[in-house]
Amino acid sequence: MALSATRGVPRHGLASALARIFGSQEMVLFLAILTLLVVVGTINPRYVAERNLQSIFLGNAYIAVAAIGMSMVIISGNIDISVGSLIGVLATLSGTLAVSGYPVLVSWLVPLVVGALVTTLMGVLVAYLRIPAIVVTLGMLSILKGGLISLTSGAWISDLPDGYALAQMRPLGVPMPVWFMVVLTAGAALWMRYTATGRAIYAVGGNAEAARLSGISRRRTIMIVFAIHGVFVGIASVLFATQLSVIQSTVPPNLELTIITASVVGGVSILGGTGTVIGSTLAAVLLAAIGSSLIFVDISPYWLRAVQGGLILITVLADLMRRRRQMRAR
């Protein structure tokens, strides 16, 4: 009974289904995006012009993709603050392979493999050697960032080969990053909801003891989560690397914060056990839409981070209140 109101766990009956849909973080986010588009679009129609909408999606889809993996990690009760550095390293790796004459496919796929290897190593340190995730990934952040900058000095990679720009392709008229964002979100959401391993992630993050008693290996689950997270980070880095015709071999500032913010605003509880990747993707879109909206309503872009910070705070407070109401209702 105590679990039945937890998001991600099915409840029965039409009324409660409706209540669940409209009370869910996903619906709140969706309505927030719509409201933003309508309000800012009314003030300045250029905001909802196709060009701007596309730039919102194109420039930020990789954040949504990375936030999928991050959400899984957080749902399992862990965190990864090295993700920004890892994206920097993998994007540089991808670009370097491409300009060194390797086939385009190789420069797309190697970052996925390397990403998974690095995060699996982190998973092993967390799960088997019992070092808290925040410590492991804090250390990794230093190692990856320092290693990258001292090897490349932040040089620009240009003269990328033809056919490398994955993020600039448009199958069926829809930009590739949007395809990736939608397909990966849907796939991950289904996987987490309907497979045993997917459910195990919630169990491990929600109640480690109960998970253990029902025969779920906490260690194995956490390692798998980190490994999958690495693949998503790899995909995100390739999308990031190919969106422009040059790559700067450095770590994008505050990227880990933006990704964690997307997960948290998307309703993933930092305490683990609840949340969905659909929420985190919607949140990534919302954050991007807010970021883009400021200049259209004549607010200095220097206020962007203050607005984002205020928004995180409001979301978290709203989420806490809703949870309390649900607790009382039961």
């Binding site: 410590v135 250390g139 952040l141 230093s142 500032p253 305490l271 806490l320």
Partner: protein, 327 residues
Amino acid sequence: MATRTAAAPRVLSRARALVSSHEVVLLVILVAALIVLAHQTDRFLTADNLLNQGRLMAEVGLVALPMTFIIITGGIDLSVGSIMGLCAIVLGVSWQNVGLPLEAAIAVALLTGALAGAMNGWFITRVGVPPLIMTLATLALYRGLAEGISQARSVRGYPEWFFRLGQGEVLGVPTQLWILLVAIVVCAVALGYTAFGRSLYAIGHNQLAARFSGIPVDRYKLAIYTLSGLMAGLAGYIFVSRVSTTRSDMGTGLELDVIAAVVLGGTSIFGGTGTIMGTVLGVILIQLLKNGLALTGVKGDATIVVIGAVLILSILITNWARGRQEH
């Protein structure tokens, strides 16, 4: 203290017992680093260089002290770097743009820091927002306010006396190092020898039990988050005084340096254990590694690779030692 792994060779179990004291592990690493670095370059082990490193260490050190309190209670404060930037901007703007006397501007900046910290503490204790989330939100919010207020302008042209704190010396020792020293002693005594200090450990071990035994949990937590903000503000003031200018990106990433130092110092990120001594050793070790490696020709960015590795390794060693003892 006796280990129960009777089968393990006696020497090994002794070694484990010794290194299970995290401070000893750190001290050994510190001495080893000193010896190796002093061998590599003769510019490292000089009074001038070490005092100068002390100057650079003061800001991280000041913020690391209340961070130790916070992490001992099982909390965290990710917003310290942003508070530092916000206070620096408030100091500069309220002096140059608002026209306050510089003394008043300093007071306003410190007050801003304390308020920013108190806001973290209030939401964490009264509303029940998890510390990681709360301070993640204010990390963005406070930095955003700093950027919004400054609009990318920097403030310069401070009078001569203003630089005394950041660039001056008292009895041949950098001024801010004296401040750090006093703060270390006060915090070490508060944590080790007062009911307040013992309460912090109790909160970290079992908050509910602490509450039931009459410890004013919320009031103590509010106090340490406020202190954290105040210290970040003070560090911001020292930073501005040291580099003679104010910019909104000051203190970016400070939280990671501080948390790395505290965790390296043996404070468990899960709460309940940790000492000021360990934190001080952690701060010194990180600063000496940075400086020593730089002097031996390692580029600045490569030194943070070493710091990351040392961070993970030191926890690994302590875990290994403690794990064997407990089983």
